[in-house]
């Protein structure tokens, strides 16, 4: 997993409780409280959705909830901005196709 564990200014990475999320069927470890997108980047996942018209992969652009580049389907809810939505234990996250579909909500 890729984390910036030592930093010359920020020091060592603080401890965080670990949580587990499921991304496209695969169980992955995440740090409690971090945005979904940060957990995905730590696992080297850079594609969040496939665009509607051109079917082109899209991902992070702004990181502050402005551009919708990072939207995914989370617990059955499409178009969730993963850069500003914190992970929760047991979350089910899917790479979204186009505008996405409503799934079974928990």
């Amino acid at each position: 997993m890729k984390r910036i564990s030592d930093h010359p200014i920020l020091g060592p990475l603080p401890e965080a409780r670990e949580v587990w999320i499921t991304v496209d069927g695969e169980r992955l470890q995440a740090r409690e409280g971090e945005p979904i997108l940060a957990a995905l980047l730590a696992h080297g996942i850079h594609v969040q959705n496939i665009s509607r018209k051109k079917k082109a992969p899209r991902g992070l652009f702004c990181g502050i909830g402005r551009c919708t580049g990072c939207v995914m389907t989370v617990d059955g809810v499409p178009n969730v901005r993963t850069c500003v939505t914190p992970v929760r234990d047991g979350m089910v996250i899917e790479t979204q196709e186009g505008l996405g579909k409503w799934g079974d909500r928990k």
Partner: protein, 372 residues
């Protein structure tokens, strides 16, 4: 129903300092921010601030952030996080709390401190994963402590481009170069010197012409840069392919003014300050009575100016409610305006100071016409 004197939208440096200043003078203040953590862009700024000691030079952004939060808490300001403000209407201000609860607030004054968002740049390949905002990179590496890529090309040599390049190096990433369309570096010389000393080449009169994808089109594999002629057109034959997995875009910010627009505020245009900006007076009040703007939303500058503008709007809003005796309020405002002028010095600052002055003058002219 939330009962409050002043509603502040945005808990970045501008919003928090507005709240602190108003609460210090006895106003009841509520701050809302859509994020689950307060601070706006402040906690990603791990570099030391510039300016004089009075402007907290030498202090890092996140330390200023923690101090402000403590202050706001001790003054009894209510901070509502995970709360989006979606509109300002004659009936009140619309908030959605935790994505579920719809709340209407009728504050007596509103301070908009919603900040700015990063500008994209269009070129073939610009939508590929790996083409990201420089601020987004800063957020990921400094706040969330995850790398965005290993080898990065930075586009734009303004302060954000330079600072984030240096922060990328601190995070362990490689910066293969910085391209700048203009013939000279845009940001402060000290920042440029720091990245150059670290071995990062700065290509002036250059731009990125395309991003090349990997085999399954899921990520940037390389960036093509080229030299620009005096008309800003790429010169054929000067293309150079750089082996990168990330292209960070640092070509400026646009103020997030939607709420002021919905409220019916008049706008003006300033390219230097980021685009369309709510017209405002010396107290940062817009053409809508009781609606103030502070920080990037009133013109994109820096965290240090956002802090001071927040104070100004906080004092002005509290004074207009009779919370501060007039003489004392005017004295305070004068002191803050002076401090802002100190911050807006140097080749970049002078131009910003003039642009800000033009906005205030335009507002005064408009008011003159109204009363004539």
């Amino acid at each position: 129903m939330i009962d409050t004197d002043i509603l502040v939208v945005g808990a970045g440096p501008a919003g928090l300092s507005a709240a602190a200043e108003a609460a210090r003078h006895g106003a009841r203040v509520t701050v809302v921010d859509e994020n689950e953590k307060p601070g706006g862009q402040l906690f990603k700024q791990i570099h030391k601030f510039f300016g004089s000691r009075r402007h907290r030079a030498g202090v890092r952004g996140f330390d200023i952030g923690y101090a402000l939060l403590d202050e706001v808490k001790s003054l009894g300001v209510e901070v509502m996080l995970d709360t989006v403000c979606y509109g300002i209407f004659p009936e009140g201000v619309g908030l959605v709390v935790s994505g579920k609860r719809d709340v209407l607030v009728e504050p007596r004054r509103i301070v908009l401190a919603t900040g700015a968002s990063e500008n994209p740049l269009c070129f073939p390949g610009w939508t590929l994963p790996g083409v990201v905002g420089a601020g987004a990179v800063q957020t990921m590496i400094n706040v969330h402590r995850v790398p965005v890529g290993e080898r990065v090309l930075m586009v734009g040599s303004g302060n954000v481009g330079l600072i984030v390049s240096y922060q990328l190096l601190q995070s362990g990433a490689q910066v293969v170069g910085i391209v700048e369309a203009l013939p000279k570096v845009g940001g402060y010389g000290v920042h440029a010197a720091k990245v150059r000393r670290a071995g990062v080449p700065i290509y002036t009169s250059h731009t990125v012409v395309s991003a090349l994808p990997n085999s399954d089109n899921t990520r940037v594999k390389a960036a093509v840069i080229a030299r620009l002629d005096e008309n800003m057109s790429p010169i054929p034959g000067t293309e150079k392919e750089l082996d990168v997995d990330t292209i960070a875009i640092a070509v400026g910010l646009t103020p997030m003014t939607e709420l002021a627009f919905i409220a019916g505020a008049a706008f003006t245009y300033s390219g230097l300050l980021g685009g369309h900006i709510p017209l405002h007076d010396e107290d940062l009040m817009t053409t809508v009575e009781g609606l103030y703007v502070a920080g990037d939303v009133s013109g994109v500058e820096e965290a240090s100016t956002a802090l001071e503008e927040g104070r100004l709007a906080g004092v002005a809003a509290a004074a207009s409610l009779g919370k501060i005796p007039e003489v004392e309020a005017e004295e305070k405002k004068r002191e803050i305006r002076e401090s802002l002028r100190d911050l807006r010095t140097g080749p970049f600052g002078d131009a910003r100071a003039r642009a800000k002055e033009e906005i205030v003058n335009e507002m005064a002219k408009r008011r003159g016409k109204r009363s004539a």
